[in-house]
């Protein structure tokens, strides 16, 4: 029931924020309502953390003949929803979901704070959309029924679309429609795959259900599995984004208001990674294994291409957006390396990217709010006028390039280490990305905060609210960089279960197909 509250609190908060502003309340009321709703949710999560212990275990999957190292889901909630179609309202949480939900709420609070003075138009409706997006994202991280997952997956898009389309910048309509259509199309392919899986499983067992735990281990011909896997992969790759389907991202991130960029980069991209981890690979282990080299290659291309794009940008927000492509390439690489270290690195990278990129977007938003441009060619030597802003920008640029001591380093290092065990060539090429990222990060700092002052801006430094946001984010990124063990501990049982499930399913399928004498795929361990 706790899990339902996690979704309901922001949902209700959004409705309240909107209706307050409709009822003639002042803007400030809806800001406070949203903030309070998210803080309440954070308290709920804190309560969950207090009750969470690694030994309690997470992720229960009843596969015949498979004993999992960790017993039950940490929290679970299940009621029938549309019983006629085998759909239940099934939420469950393990360490992975807990981490991501926590990230969601932290960034949610940051986005409300970041838009405190930026958003002046239709504030109630803005916060309504903001909170509903968050509610949908939390739903995505918790849903364990494939239909429910798709439901939340689609539900988070509409308010996000509004955030860009109404409160965005110059080319907001183009960007928002592009974002919406890309993700919708990807989502529809996933729906087709979900239904394909549903009917194959139902046809074999007579039990028609969308429940994830039941659908795991469904046996099917390799070709079918490949196509179904591809449907899921496309949806998640669009969200991630991986290179051939990334083109919505720079537009959407650039044109979105600050809060929108923070949520897009910090959270929406993570839903893609989460989907790959939770659904694509465990549901279709064999197909994923044969697809892994290509997926890893896409990851490596994303790393290099994204970094390369970022270096060419003159628009501050667009630069940060392009770095996201690069960073999420590490996530893709890590997921398809699928060994313990790579997966740990993936989770670290997801969290740290959320924090560091989120903060860079807050920074870019703050600059834009002050001087009404994002063009770096018109900036320069901001450090003198705004030293705090400069320091924060420097720190997060360093985080972004993967400086040891800050969280991103741990993530990228672990991913590269894991990838090296899976495929040396990929790891070697991917590590080149670190060089390019140094170039773009330092280039950005140089352009904005140092160099020649090109125009005479009046640039007030960070005010207390922004300092507060920065302080929280700095603490988090440094903490993750210096002592990542709690995160690794929390994620480990979930990841171990996912690996175990995948291995077990793979073994079952190979026993069935073993007569063909085909060697098992060895890209994934």
């Amino acid at each position: 029931m706790m899990l339902v509250w996690l979704i309901v609190v922001p949902f209700a908060g959004g409705v309240l924020a909107w209706s307050l502003s409709r009822a003639g309340g002042r803007d400030i009321a809806s800001r406070w309502v949203s903030l309070i709703a998210l803080v309440i949710d954070l308290f709920l999560v804190a309560g969950l953390w207090a009750g969470y212990s690694v030994r309690l275990g997470t992720g229960a999957l009843s596969l015949p003949g498979v004993s999992l190292p960790y017993g039950k889901w940490f929290k679970e909630f299940k009621v029938p929803w549309i019983p006629q179609a085998g759909i239940s309202f099934h939420l469950a949480m393990d360490g992975l979901s807990l981490l991501l939900v926590t990230l969601t709420l932290v960034l949610g609070v940051v986005s409300v704070a970041a838009s405190w003075s930026e958003i002046k138009d239709r504030t109630g409706f803005f916060h309504f959309n903001l909170l509903w997006t968050l509610s949908g994202i939390i739903g995505v991280f918790l849903a364990l029924d494939l239909f429910l997952f798709y439901f939340f997956w689609e539900m988070m898009l509409v308010p996000m679309y509004f955030l860009i389309a109404i409160w965005g910048h110059e080319r907001k309509l183009y960007a928002s429609v592009k974002f919406f259509i890309f993700t919708q199309l990807g989502g529809l392919f996933m729906l087709l795959s979900i239904l394909g899986l549903f009917f194959i499983h139902g046809g074999q067992t007579g039990v028609y259900t969308f429940d994830y735990t039941a659908l795991l281990g469904t046996a099917m011909p390799p070709a079918t599995a490949f196509w179904l896997m591809l449907g899921f992969f496309i949806a998640f790759a669009v969200k991630l984004p991986a290179v051939p389907v990334h083109s919505w991202l720079p537009d959407a991130h650039t044109e979105a208001p600050t809060a929108g960029s923070v949520i897009l980069a910090g959270l929406l991209l993570k839903t893609g990674a989460y989907g790959l981890l939770r659904f694509t690979v465990p549901l279709f282990p064999e197909a994923s294994a044969s697809f892994a080299p290509l997926a890893m290659a896409l990851g490596v291309i994303s790393i290099l291409y994204g970094a390369f794009l970022a270096f060419g940008q003159t628009d501050l927000k667009r630069l940060v957006a392009d770095t996201s492509i690069s960073h999420m390439g590490f996530v893709l690489l890590g997921i398809y390396s699928w060994n313990r270290i790579a997966l740990q690195g993936t989770v670290m990278q997801m969290l740290c990217h959320g924090i560091s990129t989120g903060m860079l977007f807050v920074l870019a938003g703050a600059v834009q709010e002050r001087i009404h441009t994002r063009d770096m060619r018109r900036m320069g030597r901001f450090w003198e006028k705004a030293p705090v802003m400069g320091g924060v920008g420097m720190l997060f640029a360093l985080a972004s390039l993967g400086l040891p001591g800050l969280g991103n380093f741990i993530g990228e290092f672990l991913v590269l280490l894991g990838a090296f065990m899976a495929s040396r060539v990929m790891a070697v090429i991917a590590s080149l990305g670190l060089i390019v990222s140094t170039v773009y990060a330092l280039w950005m700092v140089q352009q904005v905060f140092h160099g020649e002052p090109r125009e005479d801006w009046t640039l007030p430094d960070f005010h207390p609210r922004e300092k507060g946001i920065s302080a929280v984010m700095i603490v988090l990124i440094v903490w993750l960089g210096l002592y990542p063990q709690p995160v690794i501990n929390a994620a480990r049982p979930a990841l171990e279960n996912l690996r175990k499930v995948r291995a077990a399913v793979l073994m079952q399928q190979q026993e069935k197909g073993g007569a063909e004498g085909k060697g098992g795929p060895n890209e994934l361990r």
Partner: protein, 491 residues
Amino acid sequence: MSYAEILSALPLILAAASSVAVMLVIAFYRNHGVAALATLAGLGVSFTSIFVAAPYAPENVTGLLVIDGYALFFMGLIFAGSFVVAMLAHGYLKIKPCAEREEFYLLLLLSATGAGVLAASAHFASFFLGLETMSVSLYALIPYLKSERAVEAGVKYLVLAAASSAFLLFGMALIYARLGTMGFSDIASAGMRAYMGKDPVFLGALALIAAGVGFKLAVAPFHMWTPDVYEGAPAPVSAYVATVSKGAVFALFLRYFARVDIHQSGSLMLAVAVISIGSMFIGNLLALLQDNVKRILAYSSIAHLGYLLVAFLAAGALRVTAVAYYLASYFITMLGAFGVISVLTAESAGEKGEMEDLEDYRGLAARHPAVAAVFSAMLFSLAGIPLTAGFIGKFYVIAAGAGSALWTLLIALAVNSAIGLFYYVRVIVKMYSGAETPGGLQAAVAPSPAKVAIPIGGGLALAGLTLGLVWFGIYPPSLLYIIRSAVHSLM
């Protein structure tokens, strides 16, 4: 006629009787409000009598009609839809300059009766009678306002509908000549043999009937009339044409083919599949080019019939459920969308023909937040976004298709949903964007110096539709239960 037969046919009898009653009311006391109330009462009573008839189903009435759960379900949809249209029409007609407003309701009732007969018909005779009763009323309803545009739309509909009726009739005659029967159940069995035997006369007849039905459904090669008629007709009538008249024909179409195993015949499957894909692409692509909301909805309805045909081609139990759910959500959504146009037209009285230019919707959210929210909900439902009935409807269609492995059709559907999203969202963005350009801002503020209230009937109808839309989107089992128990006679 036995007692049970009369009781089971009660909804149709009452609908017919209420049109007579409304005619008498008009003859003795001509008053717009009274006529509207009498119509609403008649439709309400007819709707309620479905529950009286339900225990007697399935029942064969005179060999022409079969009143089973399936027929009653669609009658319910038809009467409820007409009820909403009547509510919308009241506020709409009140401000429109026309001499006689009362006959509108009489025609509406007659048309609804015809549609009800269609949903229950089991014989070519009742099929044709129902279709003509429905269409002939529409000949008068479409040009009701007698504006130049409306008359053009009416004549267009008249000529094409008459031609399609001729095709239909000719096809029926050929089938009768070949098989010697006009009852559906006999045709289904004998017809399949004739079809398999590649009897040219029978095949020709089938093509003729397909053309006739395709015209009524406005699917791909027979869709040309749709945008012009929807644009020219009064908005409540457009709503009626888009929902009730299509729904009734589709119900009949499915009833006939439920008895024929369409999967036995590859060429027939292929033909329907081509029509389906063609409707999706033509509807969605042409909708992209429109700047008139009524035309956008018209093309959108073409595309939606294409989606519906995907479910039609599926096999198994899911097929009828999917069609029924999709039609129910489509009814709610299309009625709601045209309902918004009706109430807004009623609101901005006299300034222009109708509230239909996309540009008119700029800044609507600031002027009428509730109406803008309703319209957004309807458009999201058309696009199949969660929390709306349209999402569950689309889900069921895709599920039915996936269950029968119609992957090509489903991929076309997915691609088209993405295309469709573009123009639905375009309208929504218009409503929520205010001051794009200085000129736009002026336009957004200027048209409503005095904010007239939304008419009460239309407002209530929209509120009800939105509630239904959200309820069936969040908790579909309620509707699924009704559908399951209603349509199992067909499975």
